[in-house]
Symmetry: C2
Subunit: 749 residues, 2 copies
């Protein structure tokens, strides 16, 4: 098994179990399952009602248990007791547990050896191997599972038990519907029943009104299944005999169906369709589908296995978390791998995730922009609820586009998301489907512009309009005037609406107003005219006194000081002006970028996992290779680093998108379609990287980029030719051809 295709947990530690559960999440888009242990752990109840105390719902608080089950179907939301709705954690159906002479397999209590848990990312398969000194002798236990990429509602599991001598094993397998979401019970009804001789059915009525049905079927030669029933939980058990030197195998196949599915089939129908196929067939078709996905998205890094593994983990989760063909949902903040942020959609979708999909699989990107088009009614309601015309996209959206953010400072003031959405629509159009902004997105673009127009103020004495009372991407500055990022993005959104507004129902007069407002919005600058100010107030804030107050640099600054101090201090949670400069590189001179870098970096905490990406890319623009490398490291490790929490509460999916951006937009120096009409690269690889290879979908073309040692090969995989510019050299690349560019000058990297 390749070290760069598999993430391996060697041994087992309770303290990192949750992190691996998150990191090892499997999914088909439709269905996502955390990498929990089939046999579970004792004393790790999954039905604690800890939301009873209202204080617990105002922010995220996670009950520290040894394990956290998670089964999610994007779109299955339940009402959140505080703020509209949350993604529902569905019943645990992975249950598969061998018991020998009364001793259940238990990684904490049993004598265990040679224990590994491995995510094979190439085939999206999770495997576990261990030796168990059971009361009747040593058993080699193997677990395997995958969520089928071909049958996205199906999870297939297999447990194989091998022993040198004959051992009698009782195998338990069930469905446990006594689970909670963030400590809250969303099941109005949960019926778990035995179905036939070797199957279990679960029927759920969610408190949102949706219904979910689950069926698990057990396949084991010669097994006679007995039934065990508890509240909301049914298990079957059978006694199996491992022959001396041989093995027994139990397979478990589960299908999920929900009332949201178009043309609903029952789980039984779904399972029936796979009935004839064996494990090998089912796995082969699944692996083939993943092979195709990887072919269109894999980023190969040679010379740095650590980076390669981190990059693969990011791309794996990006491929997994996206729901193909379903624009009723986007990708939630934790990539459907946990319940943090309640399964909601942020600007992460537009600014961190979209580029990966745009430049690897535009069809997937389309569902993400379509999601915001579908959410237009919700955005209109949201604008109206604040007293504005047009459409205002929510800071935290559920699948209906409703605002779900419980904290007013973000909900009310972090309004740039409405511009980010318009930016993403234009980005999609430019990169993949030019007609999109005058077609499906036109109305949303116009409505967003109407909101911006109404949201502006013109202060007495000012010659320009202003956007006041905003929080920019830097969430440590709560309420500011003329945030540079927000203003520039809003100007983009307004200009876009001025251009395509006719198709979206804007009158000529409105379009003039859009254009005028776009032209007028200021970018605040210091007196020197060079330093771009985050907002009008930033320079007047207090020194954050990092040396004195931020003692433990392994923990966030925010964990060590009060929010009150943060809100009055010159400190950044993440890139703000630099994020702007990353998006609009041609609008700022190197001197301006350098001035911003020098000014803001000392104030930046990188408390947000969204910070490192923009910093790495800007560092590369400034030729600061060491710093770029540090930021890459900071970003790359986030989920992989299981010792420091990692993906315990879910995948930092925006960080995954950022990792892809650092590699492709950073180290390979690819300009986005909004930044350049021509396909453009300016690679500058880290010293340790010998080679960087990745595929690109570019405005209808398919390309393959291969960078190594001062040389960059671009292959046109399609029929039509296109212009390509690498390291400033522009050449025509015919269909089916490759051009090799040489890095000019010395200091080749």
């Amino acid at each position: 098994m390749s070290q760069t295709w598999s993430i391996i947990e060697n041994g087992f530690k309770v303290s990192t179990n949750r992190a691996y559960e998150g990191l090892f999440t499997l999914g088909s888009g439709y269905l996502h399952l955390r990498g929990s242990l089939e046999e579970h752990l004792r004393d790790a109840p999954q039905n604690a009602d800890y939301m009873r105390r209202p204080a617990n719902v105002t922010s995220e608080k996670f009950v520290e248990t040894k394990a956290k089950w998670g089964a999610y179907v994007p779109g299955i939301y339940g009402p959140h007791p505080l703020c509209n709705s949350e993604l529902v954690n569905l019943p645990f159906f992975l249950d598969l547990c061998p018991v020998v002479a009364g001793e259940p397999l238990d990684l904490e209590r049993s004598r265990i050896d040679a224990c590994t848990r491995t995510l094979d990312m190439r085939t999206a398969t999770l495997r576990r191997e261990l030796d168990w000194d059971s009361p009747s002798g040593r058993i080699r236990v193997s677990f395997e599972r995958f969520v089928s990429a071909v049958r996205p509602a199906v999870c297939v599991q297999r447990m194989t038990l091998r022993a040198d001598r004959a051992i009698e094993v009782t195998v338990f397998a069930g469905i446990d519907a006594d689970v909670r979401t963030n400590g809250y019970d969303h099941f109005k009804e949960a019926q778990v029943t035995r179905a036939g001789v070797s199957a279990i059915c679960c029927h759920l009525e969610i408190d949102s009104g949706d219904c979910v049905d689950i069926e698990s079927r057990l396949i084991a030669a010669g097994a006679a299944w007995e039934q065990h029933e508890e509240r909301r939980r049914v298990r079957l058990s059978a006694v199996l005999k491992i022959p001396a030197g041989g093995s027994v195998t139990v397979e478990k196949r589960t299908a999920v169906a929900t009332s949201r599915d178009p043309g609903v089939k029952s789980p039984a129908e779904i399972l029936d369709a796979a009935d004839a196929a064996g494990w090998d067939t089912l796995h082969a078709e699944h692996a083939a589908a993943w092979a195709a996905r990887w072919a269109g998205a894999d980023v190969l890094i040679e010379g740095d296995d650590e980076a390669q593994l981190a990059m693969r983990a990011s791309v794996y989760h990006l491929l997994r978390a996206h729901v193909p063909g379903d624009s009723r949902v986007a990708i939630d903040a934790k990539g459907y791998a946990g319940e943090a942020y309640w399964g909601r959609f942020f600007w992460d979708t537009e600014m961190y995730l979209l580029p990966f999909y745009l430049y690897t699989d535009p069809l997937r990107a389309r569902t993400l922009v379509d999601f915001r088009v579908r959410a237009l009614p919700g955005a209109r309601d949201n604008a109206a609820s604040y007293g504005y015309r047009g459409a205002r996209y929510p800071w935290e959206s559920d699948s209906d586009g409703r605002e779900c953010c419980p904290n007013w400072q973000y909900r009310d003031h972090e309004i740039h998301v409405t511009a980010d959405v318009a930016y993403a629509m234009a980005h999609y159009a430019r990169a993949a489907e030019p007609a999109y902004v005058r077609g499906p997105a036109a109305e949303a673009i116009v409505e967003a512009a109407r909101y911006w127009l109404d949201r502006m103020d013109r202060r007495p004495g000012d010659s320009h309009p202003s956007i006041l009372g905003v929080m920019g991407p830097n969430e440590y500055g709560p309420i500011n005037s003329n945030n540079a990022y927000t203003n520039r993005l809003a100007a983009f959104a307004l200009k876009l609406a001025a251009e395509v507004g006719q198709e979206g129902g804007a009158t000529p007069k409105e379009r003039c107003a859009f254009a005028e407002a776009a032209a007028g919005l200021p970018i605040p600058r210091a007196k020197d005219g060079v330093l771009v100010l985050e907002n009008e107030e930033f320079a007047t804030r207090a020194d954050p006194r990092f040396n004195e107050l931020w003692r433990n640099r392994n923990a966030t600054y925010a964990a060590q000081v009060s929010q009150e101090r943060i809100y009055r201090s010159k400190c950044l949670k993440q890139a703000d002006v630099l994020m702007l400069m990353m998006l609009f590189p041609h609008e700022f001179t190197d001197a301006e970028v350098k001035a911003a870098w020098d000014y803001y970096l000392p104030f930046t905490t990188h408390d947000s996992s969204l910070s490192a990406g923009a910093h790495a890319i800007i560092a590369l623009r400034l030729g600061l290779h060491e710093q770029a490398w540090e930021f890459w490291r900071m970003s790359a490790d986030k989920d992989i680093d299981t010792e420091h929490g990692g993906a315990a509460e879910g995948i930092h999916i925006a960080g995954c998108g950022a990792n892809w951006q650092i590699a492709v937009l950073g180290f390979a120096g690819m300009a986005t379609a909004l930044q350049s009409e021509t396909f453009t690269l300016a690679p500058q690889l880290p010293a340790r990287w010998k080679r960087l290879v990745f595929p690109v979908a570019w405005r209808g073309s398919r390309l393959r980029v291969d960078v190594a040692a001062g040389r960059c090969e671009v292959t046109n995989l399609g029929q039509e030719g296109l212009q390509v510019r690498v390291w400033g050299e522009s050449r025509h690349l015919p269909g089916g051809q490759m051009i090799a560019f040489e890095r000019p000058g010395k200091g080749k990297r």
Copy 2:
């Protein structure tokens, strides 16, 4: 009954019942009872658990019922599910209900005539009279009750039934412990039992650990009481016969005792002590105590009965709500007449309430400043929890001085309360007990100054320290730099600590630092040097667009726009710079005050009931008599105006204090002891007021002020002489003497 001593509800309307319940609250300081109907109304349950939904606890939400019982003992708090603690609503023991031929008296369902409910403020007695066409004939029903000023744990009730013909009546009377506080059940245990032939006992264990015992005794000639029991409720009933042309009377006496009481007596002991006394005796001693209170506090207004009644209502509630001799509590935001603001203590105590007590009964004022001294440990914890040295008083305090404010923008940023507390300590000392600031308060004053010193920032390039990230009194500006009010008050607090700090444990070096910081804190001003800016950012805010957005001027601006708009707009909830100018009149020229008035008034919504007072007083300084009168009207009506909510959720007790301030500091122009060493008046009465008479306690002296038609008499009720200045004329006033001053010049008012 004098129209200026009694508030009369004529007839009965369900829609205003809650407002009258609040307005008619009786109390002894120790015990407070809303003016609820003895027989209650049907379909107005008082045991609804509406706090189960967490969304309801983040802000105040009141379930709309026809009636709201309220029985409060200051200091009896229970844990609040969201923010520390809340004042507990105790059982309803006023229950007294006549039933004739199966028909209970019911103001909604019975045929009722000539119905009045009257609060006689002179004797703090609540009376109700009505004619009831009962099934057996017309009955004149009278209810009377008072909470004894002499026996503060005792409530005495009497019901008299008169009829022209003989009528048999069944009278019910009980204690109902099935009540909630803001929809939350605070009783771990609630036992209600019959005690002897005609008494009911209630024993409560509060979830805070405190215990409360209540006993009600019934006195009715010849009554044979039967028992009725429900969950947490016991009633006794007896059949009584009204003789033709005669009457029957039922008396109910209730005593309350709590585990917080020093030297706890049982309710039985307390009632036993009053046993020999009849209604008349008990009421006479009570009325005598109130007569003494009024003698020291009544503000007589001749020529304007409406103003007189409003002023009496304010003074009545100020006299009622204060807890004599108990510095373990202050006066909560609703004057112990409702559950809004959860029974918590705000800066209202120091800035709105204290002056009334200081200048009428300094012993009462002392408990209020002592309360903050006692709360020093809580204030220290609070500072530490934010990472600061010293003591930081909470924005919303419970009786333990713990921060209870659930909304971070106030909790974190409205820090001026810590300076207000120091200001109040100095105010008390100067007005009543000079040694106080170097004695009991010294440590608290030093600790507050240590907090301020640590809370300051010095920005690069600034020659002065700054207080950043604050909300001033104007709660519509959430996070600002160098709020003028906060800076000036903090400077006051620091200078005070520099002066008296030695006694409070401050080192000489610390005291130097306090003095230096006090001298350095800036008051931001516009470029013209005249306009004092609320803070550094105010002038850059957006126009609030009142004309367009604030359509219904009978409702608050805040009810018609989003908080988001408010937070970016130039709008004021209440006086901020003007409040500062009211407190420090000599530090601002008339031109500066006029500039502030002209600038801020158009932006001021007066959405807070705390706004009108400062505006009225500043208007008088500027000679704007009509506007002063408008602000007086705005302030005076708040609780009296039952048609617009009034006191439904409790008394606007700070507004009561403001009303007194408008009359005494405004219309009589009295300078406070912090503003003048000499007792100083500059009366300018409203045109409608023929005469204004009030007593004043001034630095150990007792005075009587009598203003009428360009003449002002000041009588020295004590032995020692003092200097008195009226209308600029300074004279010595010997003990026991009166001086009459004539208003100089023309335009006498």
